[in-house]
Amino acid sequence: MKPAPFEYYRAYAPAEVVELLTGLGDEAKVLAGGQSLVPMMNFRLAHPAALVDINAIAELDYVRREGDSLRIGALTRHRTLELSRAPEVQDGFSLLPRAARWIGHYPIRSRGTVGGSIAHADPAAEWCLLARLYDADVVVLGGQGTRVVPSADWFTGFLSTVAATNDVVTEVRFNRPRAFGALTEYARRRGDFAIAAAAVAFDVVDGRCRDVSIVLGAVAGEPLRVTEAEALVEGAEPAAPTWAAAARIAAAAIRPNADTYGGERYRRHLVDTLIQRAFAEAFASDASVSAASGIR
């Protein structure tokens, strides 16, 4: 569990990252929080010839609100969001701090980054679910300059994205704020990657659910929007029967792989449970969000 030899470079500006990556070729990788990359290198599942460390690029560590968008710099640590009580986050994106608490353990949250998680593209990762839930855009700097990739186009399968080898993620832009949101998941121990996760966000207008998003994690190669279930909740009453019906549809809609954590039927059962719980939690927690996510 010692990594293979590699070269190490430190970049001080986003453009320098692209320059270094371009020069180093395919075998170079960005090093952010290192919470996914370093274990993979130690297990020799990843053998990058070179690392470009972006931890010194302070300008990539920020949380800013611009209208309906919440812009999070790629180097922002999970922990920063988890602890955030700022109005620009709480207003419409209050789920983000609550959801961040599900990520691993304290040391992982204080080191791991939002950009790293999005780039790593684990289908169980909370940030990846949230990106789909809030129609996020991924801002990427590459050889041709900056581009903005909608999260719907970003993920291309298990641990893979549309990013080119010399791209660096600079920002994740969360859009479509909603009043109600929850993310819930099940793992056999606290802090483990979810066996299945469900996230929901919606508004309630005149006693009807509006602008509904439902995303599932760990049931496919990438985070999964369940549009059939969203359509069912859209315009329906925010109540248990609605949640149950949506959950049933979502559970039927997925095609999970069987793995050591249980077969297809079990995953469907979990999805059914988690969607109902996510909706119930979201609807119960609108105004009481800050209390619910209070310091542990």
Partner: protein, 777 residues
């Protein structure tokens, strides 16, 4: 000074451990030290067609690459504890695979390099060409061709018991493969002295004297040229410190290269290399009369031992059978076990070997019987527990070479006490209240018998030092269990001093060449009584010399508070340091030719083990939405005979419980159909963490001192674990409304399925999960 035994004094070893001054296997560092890296088989079974080490050798920094062809001969690791007179020689593990590999992780080559990184780089360059052969992963597929031992233990007329029975209840139960995962992986450092062809070996803390004997034999060296030094260790639990292939390879390489060599197992290796344990399938049948009294018990156990037989031989299956009747009155018993080999990591003991498995199976059988006979779960146990009047109770069979004689005790009394405490704590009410709210709460109870204090002997030295301190050289070893403190307490009492005045050195073969080591909950009983014996002899000598110095009769003297004094006086005394002085060569107090010094070596021997016993009670909640189990409350009642240090006993029980919880709910080594391990990191091998382990309520009793040793102690190392699988299975079945469970670990997917089954009015699970198949529906 108040008696030290019985006090919860803080651990002597903690200061060094908590201030970062412990010395662990990897802390031993020597000049020009090399690093070894083991190349392991990537396939589960095959013939070695060739091993190409050219590229590895060519890497700068690589000093040596060895394969079986370089070894002196076809070396295999012998069994440490032989039982049942069954010849296992054909199944012993070679130190390096020569012709065949039989499990993923089997050592096939070793790279030695200037540093650990280069060693790992080079290991990847070793090309092992293997022609794959058929593999066997499921133990039942091995029964026909690969059963290496098949034997019975038992007593009484089982046939008649079953013929006379009013009810017969049968259960199939399986226990998943899991093991101890010590915080510190294995580590060995060997310092070789070319000038004298001798070596010091650091790191194999557990049974250093035995390991030295094996090593000396394999290296064809004189034992006295090898010094084993047990050092601090981050846990052992049965697996760490046994003689593994590396325990030969690293010393052999040091001697071959005439340089110090170190090897530290990494966690990924550890998961495939360390002894696995527990994997068994039981078919049990119990016969009752019409009152619910047990007439007879039958067991048919299959035991998966993995690819080879290691140092523990077949003691785990033997102990399983021997301890299966537990604390109950079983007039007739026939247990059969078949030990099979499969293409998985070889197995050995893990804390509470055979008892975790057997207790879980037997107690589920009793739960099922309770339902079948319409008796309460508590009542069926109370009816059948041996009463104190029935003890001592001999069972006409033996295990670990000793006859089974259950010594004194009050099994029913402890059982009732545990239940009374549960009532007092309001757990029955909690269960009722939870259920009223529609929650799935369940309460489970089990009774169990432990064994401890395995002989036949243990040796300890006690001496007085020049400053009047007491020094102990014991055969027991420090595995983190606090044995240094316990032995210091026992030694201190022989001199009427504080344990602070005692220094204990464990497991150094130069200082104590006769130690039998720490395992089987034996150290407090065996080493403790050896220390007591040696201490008494030294105290006698102190009185003897003191009587000359104080001009009084030895009978009038007492040894207390660091002095030898005339009883009832304070000034008529000499300090231990002064007596030490008087025992030095040239002293006028020594008779001509009388040996100098104040020291004694004592060997304590014992024929029978002593049998602690206990009760576990667990309150769990099952989440029907996820199948997740939360352990809400847990209680352990335990009879320890004499608690030398009650806090340490409680610590042992609590620590054991968390490991048992792992085995009951979380931990399992899984393999796919091609024999590839699926659990090689902590992401997949789920150890319980502080979040999953509840606070454990302990009822520690000293009502029945052991009659087989002067201190009266029973072992305490394993009883925290023994009943956990049983109690949690019982609690889960109660929560689900089932009669019993049929497999451990109880994984969530399975429980969701079980809930559906229960909802259909089926009280009994139809089949068990096949742990080796990824089931696609």
């Amino acid at each position: 000074m108040i008696e030290q035994v019985g006090q919860s004094i803080p651990r002597k070893e903690d200061h060094r451990l908590l201030t970062g001054q412990g010395t662990f296997g990897a802390d031993a560092q020597f000049p020009r030290m090399l690093r070894a890296r083991v190349v392991r088989s990537p396939v589960a079974h095959g013939r070695i067609a060739g091993i190409d080490t050219t590229a590895a050798r060519a890497l700068p920094g690589v000093v040596d690459v060895v394969t079986a062809a370089d070894l002196p001969s076809d070396l295999r690791i012998p069994v440490r504890i032989k039982v049942q007179d069954i010849d296992l020689d054909d199944h012993l593990q070679p130190v390096l695979a020569r012709t065949d590999v039989r499990y993923v992780g089997e050592p096939v080559a070793v790279v030695v390099a200037e540093d650990a990184y280069v060693a790992e780089d080079a290991a990847q360059l070793v090309v092992v060409d293997i022609d794959e052969e058929n593999i066997i992963i499921d133990m039942d597929d091995a029964l026909d061709q690969h059963t290496i031992a098949d034997f019975h233990l038992g007593f009484g007329d089982v046939e008649s018991a079953f013929t006379a029975a009013k009810h017969v209840v049968a259960l199939d139960f399986s226990v998943g493969r899991h093991s101890a995962i010590p915080m510190e992986t294995r580590a060995l450092t060997v310092d070789y002295a070319a000038g004298t062809d001798s070596m010091e070996v650091y790191g194999a803390t557990k049974v250093p004297v035995f390991n030295r004997r094996v090593l000396a034999g394999m290296l064809q060296m004189d034992e006295s040229a090898i010094r084993m030094r047990a050092v601090d260790t981050g846990g052992a639990f049965g697996v760490r410190g046994e003689f593994y292939p590396e325990d030969f390879l690293v010393p052999w390489l040091a001697r071959r290269l005439r340089r110090a060599v170190a090897w530290v197992e990494d966690r990924a290796e550890h998961f495939v290399a360390i002894n696995h344990s527990r994997e068994q399938r039981h078919h049990l049948e119990v016969a009752f009369d019409d009152e619910g009294i047990i007439l007879g018990l039958r067991a048919d156990v299959r035991h998966d031992n993995g690819a080879y037989v290691r140092t523990h031989g077949i003691i785990v299956p033997e102990l399983t059978l021997a301890m299966l009747p537990g604390p109950y009155r079983v007039p007739a018993y026939d247990g059969r076990v078949r030990v099979v080999l499969t293409n998985k990591t070889p197995c050995g003991t893990y804390r509470a070997p055979g008892r975790f498995e057997g207790t879980a199976a037997r107690e589920q059988l009793l739960d099922l019987a309770a339902a079948t006979l319409g008796i309460g779960r508590v009542e069926i146990r109370r009816k059948n527990l041996l009463t104190s009047a029935e003890l001592p109770h001999a069972r006409a069979m033996s295990t670990l070479g000793t006859d089974i004689v259950l010594d004194s005790g009050d099994y029913v009394g402890l059982f009732d006490r545990a239940l009374a405490r549960v009532d007092e704590l309001g757990w029955n009410d909690l269960r009722e209240r939870g259920r009223a709210e529609g929650r799935r709460l369940g309460l489970g109870v089990c009774a169990f018998l432990e064994k401890s204090g395995l002989g036949p002997h243990e040796t300890a030295d006690v001496q007085i030092t020049n400053t009047g301190r007491i020094r102990v050289h014991s055969g027991g070893t420090s595995l983190g269990q606090g044995i240094e403190t316990v032995l210091a307490q026992i030694a201190a009492d022989q001199f009427g001093v504080s344990a602070d005045l005692v220094d204990v050195v464990n497991g150094d073969t130069l200082l104590q060449p006769y130690g039998a080591g720490s395992w089987a909950s034996r150290s407090t009983v065996l080493s403790g009584n050896a220390v007591r014996g040696a201490g008494r002899e030294v105290a006698d000598r102190l009185r003897d010399l003191g009587s000359q110095m104080l001009e009084s009769a030895p009978e009038d003297l007492e040894v207390a508070d660091g002095v030898v004094r005339v009883r009832g006086t304070t000034t008529n005394a000499v300090s231990l340091a002064q007596v030490w002085q008087a025992a030095q060569p040239g002293s006028r107090w020594l008779r001509p030719d009388e040996p100098a010094g104040l020291a004694a070596r004592h060997r304590f021997s014992v024929d029978h083990m002593t049998y602690p016993y206990g009760v576990h009670v667990g309150l769990v909640e099952v989440d029907p939405g996820t199948g997740g189990v939360t352990v809400l409350r847990y209680l352990i009642a335990y009879e320890v005979g004499r608690a030398v240090n009650p806090a340490l006993v409680e610590g042992q029980l609590r620590g054991g419980m968390s490991q048992g919880l792992g085995g009951a709910l979380l931990e399992q080594f899984r393999y796919d159909q091609s024999g590839q391990p699926q659990t090689t990191t902590f992401i997949d091998y789920l150890m319980p963490t502080a979040s999953e382990v509840p606070v454990v309520e302990v009822v520690l009793r000293e009502d029945a001192p052991a009659t087989t040793n002067p201190i009266g102690a029973r072992g305490a190392g394993e009883g925290g674990l023994t009943g956990t699988g049983a109690a949690l299975a019982s609690a889960v079945s109660d929560a689900l409304g089932l009669t019993s469970m049929d497999a451990l670990p109880m994984d969530p997917a399975f429980l969701v399925q079980a809930l559906a089954t229960a909802a259909n009015g089926v009280e009994r699970l139809a089949s068990q999960v096949n742990h080796y198949e990824v089931v696609c529906e």
